[in-house]
């Protein structure tokens, strides 16, 4: 019977890992969307001429901002997002490894259980 308990524990741990993984994948996708959005803005800023005044939206108002400041801001954001993507990517790899290991454990346990059942009959 202890095999069965082990199997149950392993399978609940596995589903937990899967859930964690999908949360991380979601975060990764969100970061990707943010990255491309900021890239579009960066490209837009690259095309500006000096008479194009830049405004930044703060709540319901638009505040005038220097072009250089805005460019620096977006660059900083891009850097931050890139580093976040690296971090999340590492997390994803780690959890992938752990979940693969758990899966193997599950398969082994199932095989052992089946063997025990075959012996018993």
């Amino acid at each position: 019977m202890s095999l069965q308990v082990k199997l149950q524990n392993a399978s609940s741990e596995y589903t937990k890992l899967q859930m964690e993984m999908s949360a991380i994948v979601e975060a990764r996708q969100k970061l990707d969307a943010q990255l491309s959005e900021n890239e579009v803005v960066e490209q837009e800023f690259a095309k500006l001429t000096p008479e194009n005044v830049v405004y930044k939206q703060i709540g319901p108002v638009l505040v005038k901002q220097e072009q250089d400041d805005a460019k620096k801001d977006v660059k900083g954001r891009l850097e931050f997002i890139s580093s976040e993507i690296k971090r999340v990517e590492a997390q994803l790899q780690d959890i992938q490894k752990r979940s693969d290991k758990k899966k193997q454990e599950l398969v082994d346990l199932q095989a052992a259980l089946q063997q025990a059942a075959a012996k018993a009959t």
Partner: protein
């Protein structure tokens, strides 16, 4: 058509004809899900594109002929205040992530037109993918029907090895 579908559908898998019926319906479900997702994205892109097209039309109305003509500015859905166009040479464009840029009207039209062409290229590639997926699905369905007919002819369900 069936041949191209088979070639596109099974590059990394074994031929679809080797699968048994439960496996086939799994693949079918997966394909249908993908197709759904893709058509949804397509509709969303189309919507975004028509919004940009509207923007171009609207910007075109900001022209010197319309200077000083009375207009109604919506403050809420039901509250309008009278106003006048003071500056017909410039508009402020939302470029994303909370940034707005003051542009001349030709610049703004160019900006939106670029967006429209960009979206169009995306739409074209997406349409191609959707057609391919649909062909795959049709091919898969015909294979499934064949298998089912075969099973019925042989009298009882067989398990493919």
């Amino acid at each position: 058509m069936a041949q191209t579908a088979a070639a596109a559908g099974a590059p990394q898998q074994i031929s679809v004809t080797d699968l048994d019926i439960p496996q086939l319906s799994d693949v079918r479900r997966q394909l249908e899900e993908e197709l759904n997702h893709l058509t949804n994205s397509f509709a969303q892109l189309k919507q975004a594109q028509s919004k940009f097209k509207n923007c171009v039309e609207n910007v075109k109305e900001v022209k010197p002929e319309n200077k000083d003509k009375p207009i109604l500015v919506p403050l809420t859905n039901s509250l309008y205040v009278p106003g006048k166009l003071a500056d017909t040479g410039n508009v402020i464009v939302d470029v994303g992530t909370g940034y707005f840029v003051k542009k001349t009207t030709p610049q703004a039209i160019q900006h939106y037109s670029a967006k429209i062409t960009y979206l169009q290229s995306n739409l074209d590639t997406l349409e191609e993918t959707i057609t391919k997926k649909r062909e795959n699905l049709n091919y898969l369905l015909s294979v499934m029907q064949q298998k089912l007919a075969q099973q019925q002819q042989e009298g009882k369900p067989i398990q493919a090895s």
